[in-house]
């Protein structure tokens, strides 16, 4: 989501303020309206009771003018309160526009409203029937109160309330913006700090002491990511240098060897020799490129295809058989131990490739005549294939990095001899393990080095 946090906060503050004020305003308006209505009703009721008392006791026409006089007195000059008496006998009537009233106000006793032409607002009315007495027939007394002043008050209140709410909301927005700015200051500092970071200063970390609690978690996570990035960056730099180095050596040989060969007239056998040497270097380049492509595909998460269910120990035996000439030559023996019945879902070619890299590695790093051990262990849905060889112990610091491309425990042992491969063997083991939903592990102690990889056991699906 785009946009600044400050403006989002301000908008949220404004919405919250608007909601609050609207609620309070509505409540106040409601209370005021009810109070005003009650006041009107009381007014109506008092007047009605007062007059009913007078009318009830008048039974003759000659006493009616006194009631009329009383009603005249009670009617204020602004016509805010008005009285009507409806009767079949014209002698006992009161009020203006009676015929109209009679038409409008048909309902029996109780509250009602009537609107008379000159007034805009309707009048609230209260009417009551008063029983006959002597010569006076039953009459209906109607008291009306003009609601215009009340409505006016309510309107004025509403306008004031709205204006106040809007002003307050504006104020809240301004204050909110200011608060947000102050509140977000640590974030700006953090971002300035992060912006100042450069690839060259990757070891730099965010300062944690000055940060509020909410941000320190983020900064800690960010620092963690930076740490991992630094490692990866360094590895990548080293990796690029290694690739360049690995490619540079054969290329130098190719260019130099060809130039030397062409610089003088040569005999056919000499050219043949030069071409053969070139071919060896080219095969090395091809092998590096193919392995790098393989690793790149594995890095992109390509899973192994062509999976079949196979007995692990059987595959191990097949691979050991491949090494038989080499093992015979050095007098080395290989024992296969562990769960010999365990089955795994695997691409057989890839599995053999990984295992042959491990065996090659074990043979290279042990003295002639020793016994190597391949241990097959089932563990939590995966099957580990552990290849152990007696040999010099590898320092702990190297163990996790053994599977890195071109990583060499002994940096000086960079002789890249014909049979040393090119430092991708264990990286390929790791790639194969990953492609099979497994992993790798390395331990080294008391003169025994064990390097292992795992594949999913048969019947277990990778997630």
């Amino acid at each position: 989501m785009k946009g600044s946090i400050a403006s989002r906060l301000v908008i949220m503050f404004a919405v919250a303020a608007l909601a609050t004020f609207s609620l309070i305003g509505a409540a106040l308006y409601g209370v005021l309206e009810r109070e005003l209505t009650r006041h009107q009703d009381e007014d109506l009721n008092t007047n009605l009771q007062n007059l009913r008392y007078s009318i009830e006791r008048v039974g003759t026409a000659d006493r009616w003018p006194r009631v009329q006089a009383k009603m005249d007195t009670l009617t204020p000059s602004d016509g805010r309160v008005r009285f009507w008496v409806l009767s079949d006998d014209p002698r006992f009537q009161y009020g203006k526009g009676l015929d109209q009233i009679e038409r409008i106000s048909q309902e029996p006793d109780g509250r009602g409203t009537i609107s008379l032409p000159p007034q805009e607002e309707a009048m609230r009315t209260l009417s009551q029937r008063i029983g006959p007495l002597d010569e006076r027939p039953a009459v209906r007394l109607i008291v009306g109160v003009d609601v215009a002043p009340f409505a006016h008050t309510l309107r004025a209140f509403l306008v004031a309330l709205t204006l106040l709410s809007l002003t307050a909301m504006l104020l809240v927005m301004l204050l909110g913006y200011w608060i947000a700015r102050i509140g977000l200051q640590p974030l700006q500092q953090l971002s300035a700090e992060a912006q100042a970071m450069r690839p060259k200063t990757l070891s730099q970390r965010l300062q944690l002491e000055k940060l509020p609690v909410e941000l320190s978690d983020l900064a800690v996570a960010f620092n963690g990511a930076l740490g991992r990035l630094e490692d990866a960056y360094q590895q990548l730099e080293g990796f690029n240098a290694d690739v360049a180095h690995e490619l540079r050596t054969p290329l130098t040989n190719l260019i130099g060897g060809t130039q030397v060969a062409l610089s003088r007239p040569r005999s056919a056998p000499e050219f043949q020799e030069a071409l053969q040497s070139n071919l060896e270097e080219l095969e090395r380049l091809r092998s590096i490129i193919n392995d790098m492509l393989f690793l790149a595909r594995a890095d992109q998460g390509e899973a192994a295809t062509g999976l079949t269910e196979a007995c692990v120990a059987q595959e191990v035996e097949m691979t050991i058989e491949f090494f038989a000439p080499l093992l015979d030559e050095t007098g080395t023996t290989v024992g296969v131990e562990g769960e010999l019945q365990a089955k795994a879902t695997m691409n057989v070619a890839l599995f053999r490739r990984a295992l042959s890299n491990l065996l090659q590695n074990a043979i290279e790093h042990s003295a002639p005549g020793v016994r190597l051990v391949v241990n097959v262990v089932r563990q939590a849905g995966v099957i580990w294939i552990r290849v152990s060889n007696p040999g010099s112990t590898i320092a702990d610091m190297h163990l996790p990095r053994l599977f890195d491309r071109f990583y060499r425990v002994d940096a000086s042992r960079h002789d890249a001899g014909e049979h040393h491969g090119h430092g991708l063997g264990l990286a390929i083991v790791k790639a194969v393990a990953n492609m099979h939903g497994g992993g790798v592990a390395a331990t080294s102690s008391d003169g025994v080095t064990t390097i292992a990889f795992s594949v999913l056991a048969a019947g277990h699906r990778s997630h």
Binding site: Q276, S277, N278, L279, E280, E283, R286, S287, I289, N290, D291, L293, F294, R297, E302, T305, M318, T319, E321, F322, F323, A324, P325, L326, D328, E329, A349, L350, R352, R353, S356, N357, Q360, E418, H419, H420, G421, H422, G425
Partner: protein, 228 residues
């Protein structure tokens, strides 16, 4: 063997034509897909070597067009080692594929395998100079001397002898003898060849098992050995 090479990269096309001609194949070359398709439809080839990336008509489309009319075996050459490419190529009717950079020897081996396909039964006896191999009894003699071989040594000998005159790379040998289907950096094959050579060549003449430096091994009777 009559071959068609459809390849737009001039250097690749040139060395393929030269190399395959020298192996005794009759080779036609087309430098784009349209010409390639025309050649493939108007002539009868034993195998077609087809580059996937071509100007005009790409390899996959060419293959589809071709398959509407003919079932000539096709080896696809692709620069991208992606599973989809392989699947696509094989679905469209390619018989094999090779990923660039590929080695000439590998191409040769695949071509011979395709051409061998459907051929009559393998011989049961092989004879190269005074080397005799009985493939059924799994026994070998040099002249009258019986040569004791382990099972794998015999398998190695048989693989080389069956393809006499054909250079086999270490990778190809590892695949054919041990079913190790990958480029390995180990010297197992070298050691195995050394041991086989000690048994069949060391105390006998002529020498039959030759190392082609940088490429692999070949079993053949060479002229200089006869005259020597």
């Amino acid at each position: 063997m009559k071959l068609l090479i459809v390849e737009d990269e001039p250097k690749t096309a040139e060395y393929l034509q030269k190399g395959l001609s020298e192996q005794g194949c009759a080779v036609d070359v087309a430098h784009n897909g349209v010409d390639g398709l025309h050649f493939a439809l108007t002539h009868d080839y034993d195998v077609i070597v087809l580059d996937a990336m071509l100007p005009g008509l790409d390899g996959f489309s060419l293959l589809r067009e071709l398959r509407l009319a003919k079932q000539t075996p096709v080896i696809m050459l692709t620069a991208r080692d992606r599973v989809e490419d392989r699947v696509r190529g094989l679905q469209d009717g390619a018989d094999d594929y090779l990923v660039k950079p590929f080695s000439f020897l590998e191409l040769l081996a695949r071509l011979q395998a395709l051409a061998r396909r459907g051929r009559s039964q393998e011989p049961v006896q092989l004879k190269i100079a005074n080397l005799q191999i009985d493939l059924i009894a799994r026994k070998a003699w040099r002249g009258n001397a019986r040569i004791e071989l382990t099972a794998k040594e015999f398998a190695l000998l048989a693989v080389l002898a069956r393809r006499q005159g054909e250079i086999l790379s270490k990778t190809a040998i590892a695949e054919l003898v041990w079913d190790m289907n990958f480029d390995s950096n180990t010297n197992v094959v070298e050691v195995a060849i050394k041991r086989l050579r000690a048994k069949i060549d060391a105390s006998f003449a002529p020498k039959l098992l030759h190392t082609i430096r940088g490429m692999g091994y070949v079993m053949e009777l060479r002229d200089e050995e006869v005259s020597a």
